[in-house]
């Protein structure tokens, strides 16, 4: 008996040491564990259908729209606000894009779809600025402003075409949604995967050199190499899965879908914004202690406005992906999306009390939610039951978070 407890203890110590040395976020590990568990259960229950390249490919594409918006929702919630309007904002912006592309600009003109993308992003930024203005400079709580936005933008989406669905979109534009031609093929996927691995290695070497220059401690070599190996394995695995799904009735691999590339770019940009820019630092400071932020000379109002503008632009990007995927502009686009987006951020560890949250966490949250949805669809679970389940998961995730935070302090 004593032996047994001793081994258990050293194992726990080893794990703790591993976490300490690698500086991995335990919360993130727990989420990855949860995701792994969900995938395992669905794989067993669907006799392996869940884990086929085809399903994983679809799952990835399905996660993009919520994922893109969730990265912005993290900033909004970290700054102690909320945005209930993201679904409607997506819907309205999507209708504006579709209307310009199909009914205003000449069909087939090469500049048509790129210009509508610009219009969509500008429209998102403008509406975000409108909401941010009321929150930051007029002191109306974000809950109220964005609840109004939820109604107004949904109404606005209908008004664009009196409720008509507009189709079809430009064939080139459709690639942004990841349809049949909307992937980049095997070669490019491998090139991008290779670049990602090089960036991984370069990043950790760079960080190491910098820390050494300041005389700070660095991770032991085995930990550094271990992390790079695991990261590279994930990248390679991802590319292999995307390449394993072929175009219909051919052996041609699809490769990474364009919307997933868009998501990756958004995630990198947002993670960098959160971690290495002044703006990101200020958003976290504002969420941690608004008074301290103000006393430190931060222009809290301007930065709050910026947060909502960023959220609006992300809704614009999500609208592009949605209309491209749908090959149409329809009134119901983004309906209830605000709930999935907020849930993804919260499941991903964003604290509703403000000040805490990560972009990568929100993406994991989005993938967890989409995996549940996707797996239950495969199992033939009714839409009603799916809603009940995802609601319960949301409560469980937040409950787990509060328990976890209590134990840590």
């Amino acid at each position: 008996m004593p032996d047994q407890t001793q081994t258990a203890e050293t194992e726990a110590n080893l794990f703790r040491r591993f976490i300490q040395v690698t500086k991995l976020d335990t919360r993130m590990l727990a989420m990855m564990g949860a995701l792994f568990f969900i995938w395992l259960v669905f794989t067993i229950m669907t006799d392996g259908i869940f884990l086929t390249p085809r399903n994983l490919f679809n799952l990835t594409v399905q996660s993009t729209v919520v994922g893109i918006m969730a990265t912005g929702m993290v900033l909004v919630i970290v700054a102690r606000h909320i945005d209930l309007s993201v679904g409607s904002l997506l819907g309205f912006t999507g209708m504006v894009i579709a209307w310009f592309q199909v009914e205003v600009f000449p069909l087939g003109a090469a500049w048509n779809w790129p210009l509508t993308v610009v219009i969509g992003l500008a429209c998102g930024a403008l509406l975000g600025a409108w909401q941010g203005y009321w929150v930051a400079y007029r002191g109306v709580p974000a809950f109220v402003v964005t609840l109004a936005g939820l109604l107004m933008f949904r109404g606005g989406a209908w008004l664009v075409t009196e409720g008509r669905t507009i189709a079809p979109m430009d064939p080139d534009y459709q690639m942004l949604g990841g349809g049949i031609d909307g992937s980049i093929g095997a070669t490019w996927s491998w090139i991008l995967g290779g670049l990602a691995i090089i960036a991984l290695i370069g990043g950790s070497v760079y960080a190491r050199i910098r820390r050494q220059r300041f005389g700070f401690g660095v991770k032991p070599m085995w930990a550094e190499v271990g992390l790079i190996v695991v990261g590279s394995a994930l990248v390679i695995g991802f590319v292999m899965v995307m390449n394993a799904y072929t175009l219909p009735r051919t052996d041609t691999p699809r490769g990474i879908p364009v919307p997933v590339l868009i998501l990756i770019v958004v995630v990198i940009a947002m993670a960098l914004m959160a971690r290495i820019t002044r703006f990101g630092r200020y958003v976290f400071a504002m969420g941690g202690n608004p008074e301290a932020a103000e006393l430190s000379g931060i222009d809290v109002k301007k930065n709050t406005l910026m947060v909502f503008i960023v959220m609006g632009v992300l809704c614009g990007i999500a609208a592009v992906v949605t209309t491209a995927r749908l090959n149409a502009g329809a009134n119901s686009m983004g309906l209830m999306a605000e709930l999935s987006v907020i849930a993804a951020a919260v499941i991903g560890g964003t604290s509703l009390a403000g000040g805490i949250g990560t972009i990568t966490g929100a993406i994991l949250g989005a993938v967890i939610m989409q995996s549940l949805e996707n797996g239950m669809v495969l199992l033939g679970v009714s839409s009603a039951m799916r809603q009940v389940t995802i609601g319960l998961v949301l409560i469980a995730a937040v409950w787990f978070d509060s328990v976890y935070n209590k134990n840590r302090r």
């Binding site: 290495i276 202690n289 301290a292 000040g355």
Partner: protein, 258 residues
């Protein structure tokens, strides 16, 4: 001390709704001088200091910095005038680590315009080392730190940026005896460098040891200002508690304190 005062606050008024928190207070501060601001709880000490630090812009009155009339509308403007503040509430973002708090609003950037966290950590270590050599774990979130460590972060932030005028609102409230001594030593050193310091503390002994002059407030009003070399602690206590100047106080009034 015949040169121009660093700070001259004239007839300062600040109201919060019905509360007249600061009511016609005048105070000045010379280079290399420590002025203690004393008074009971709620006397208006912190509000007066926040008028100077830009956190509570004044309703009425004038502020002169080095002889020039200025308006201080927000903390940024105060910092630009060389005024640094240790707030009674510390004003730290709990979710950020010590270097991030120390440089909040004035981050060190890399050549690409991004945050240079390594440089900030390195600088933070140097300045915190001066205050509290036992405090090494500075890169965890401030909320996981002890009260004294948090206070060290707030002090470090105020002294790092070459202040000309330093406001210390209860800077040692959470510190142990050894750290308090280090802060006292620090105050003496800053004083010798020609920095003007407003020191607020409830510990009248501390203030007496460090301050050249004390200013006493009661219910938002100014009772008076005296050189510490010309009054006794009991007389100052009389000013704080009874609101009477040493000349007005009787021996009997003061006996009650013993």
């Amino acid at each position: 001390m015949n040169d121009v005062p660093l700070v001259e606050m004239r007839n300062i008024h600040k109201r919060f709704g019905g509360v007249h928190a600061v009511n016609g207070v005048c105070v000045d501060l010379y280079p290399g001088e420590v002025v203690g601001v004393l008074g009971h709880n709620g006397a208006g000490k912190s509000v007066l200091m926040k008028v100077l630090s830009g956190a509570n812009p004044l309703d009425d009155g004038e502020i002169h910095i080095a002889g020039k009339k200025v308006t201080i509308a927000n903390p940024r403007e105060a910092r630009a005038l060389g005024i640094e503040t240790i707030y009674q509430t510390l004003a730290l973002a709990d979710n950020l680590n010590a270097p991030a708090n120390l440089f909040l609003g004035r981050e060190i950037l890399t050549a690409f315009g991004t945050l240079n966290d390594d440089a900030m950590e390195s600088e933070a270590r140097k300045v915190i080392q001066r205050l509290n050599p036992n405090f090494t774990n500075i890169v965890s979130p401030v909320k996981t730190m002890s009260g004294g460590q948090r206070q060290s972060v707030a002090i470090a932030r105020a002294i790092y940026f070459d202040a000309k005028i330093l406001i210390m609102d209860e800077p040692t409230a959470a510190l142990g005896p050894q750290e308090t001594r280090m802060v006292a030593g620090l105050i003496k050193q800053l004083k010798s460098e020609g920095i003007g310091i407003f020191l607020i503390s409830h510990d009248i002994h501390d203030v007496f040891d460090l301050a050249d002059r004390v200013m006493v407030m009661k219910n938002g009003r100014q009772i008076g200002t005296r050189r510490t070399s010309e009054v006794t602690k009991d007389q100052v206590l009389g000013m704080i508690i009874l609101g009477k100047l040493p000349e007005e106080g009787t021996e009997e009034d003061l006996k009650g304190f013993h």
